[in-house]
Symmetry: C2
Subunit: 154 residues, 2 copies
DNA sequence: CGGGATAAAGAAAAATTTTCGGCATGGAAC
DNA sequence: GTTCCATGCCGAAAATTTTTCTTTATCCCG
């Protein structure tokens, strides 16, 4: 596995914030010319440090103002049931994130919907339909204080 | 507030997945020429549906393999204390997300670190240092099953 | 039927991405 | 000490994309 130098890290930090920065702008901030910056970015993409580039949308304007975290426990913990659950979850568009957790509950889901009514329907007709779910515990987000999409680059 | 037509929505769905798509490629998928696609994107940026463009990095390659969710309850709930807490949280690079929650606990934090040792130090020397914290309850992510960065576009 | 607004098309200009050859530096081998 | 090779940066040219602008078509309203 390759190692990053300070220039690579600076590129990653900047692109994490704004992927539309041109190589020209990056080069200026780094005190380099276009070529090395371009090559470094391609290298970072190639070895997988940069996985993709995405547009970040406004969930309120999209009509999805409600965020909830839902803790799910399975009734049985056979591998087959767990796999089945994970596959079903991946199909649900409302579920933005899903983590298999240590501790009391098995899974933590982050869910986005447009209204309480929609959430009710989601739980009743989609989530609860999945086999082998034991308990469900939903908590609602009142306010998003912070949402970074990137990670610290040390 | 403006309304989106099907073409706008398709553009948003595509750019949410891959922000590097050129207007040419988008135009081809939409059955349009460059101009209308270009104008629509600029409009979607202008009215705020598209907030930013970011590069998505690989947290394991970055050396940040550990994700935890930490539930925080405040001792007192004065507005001043709450605001202070939120400001302090915003400063902590390890905290990727922070939500003010309904229910038993006040805040839910998503945290990324490189090791258990680092997490220990984070809790002991950074998180716990913040005034007025009542209880802390950390649960560790065993496995990331799904992590979409976008929202469903209806 | 005409006027005006909206959206798309087409073409040209500007800027960026991508490719490529060359130059300097530094380390390894002899 | 010198030669060779690898690495990283530079600079310029080519390819592609972004951006701007003008024109055309369509639809709605008066």
């Amino acid at each position: 596995m390759e190692q990053l130098d300070e220039i690579d890290k600076k590129i990653l930090r900047l692109l994490q914030e704004d992927a539309k920065l041109t190589t020209k702008e990056l080069a200026a901030q780094l005190g380099l010319t276009l070529s090395p910056v371009y090559e470094r970015i391609k290298r970072l993409e190639g070895i997988g440090f940069i996985k993709q580039y995405v547009a970040v949308l406004d969930k309120n304007l999209l009509g999805q103002p409600i965020t909830t975290f839902c803790q799910v426990s399975m009734r049985y913990h056979d591998k087959a049931f767990i796999n089945k659950f994970e596959e079903e979850i991946k199909k649900l568009a409302e579920v933005q994130e899903c983590y298999h957790m240590a501790g009391q509950v098995d899974f933590l889901l982050k869910i986005h919907v447009g209204s309480l009514d929609e959430y009710h329907n989601f739980v009743k007709y989609k989530l609860s339909e999945i086999e082998n779910i034991g308990t469900l515990n939903s908590t609602f987000v009142l306010k998003e204080i912070k949402r970074n999409l990137g990670y610290p680059v040390h």
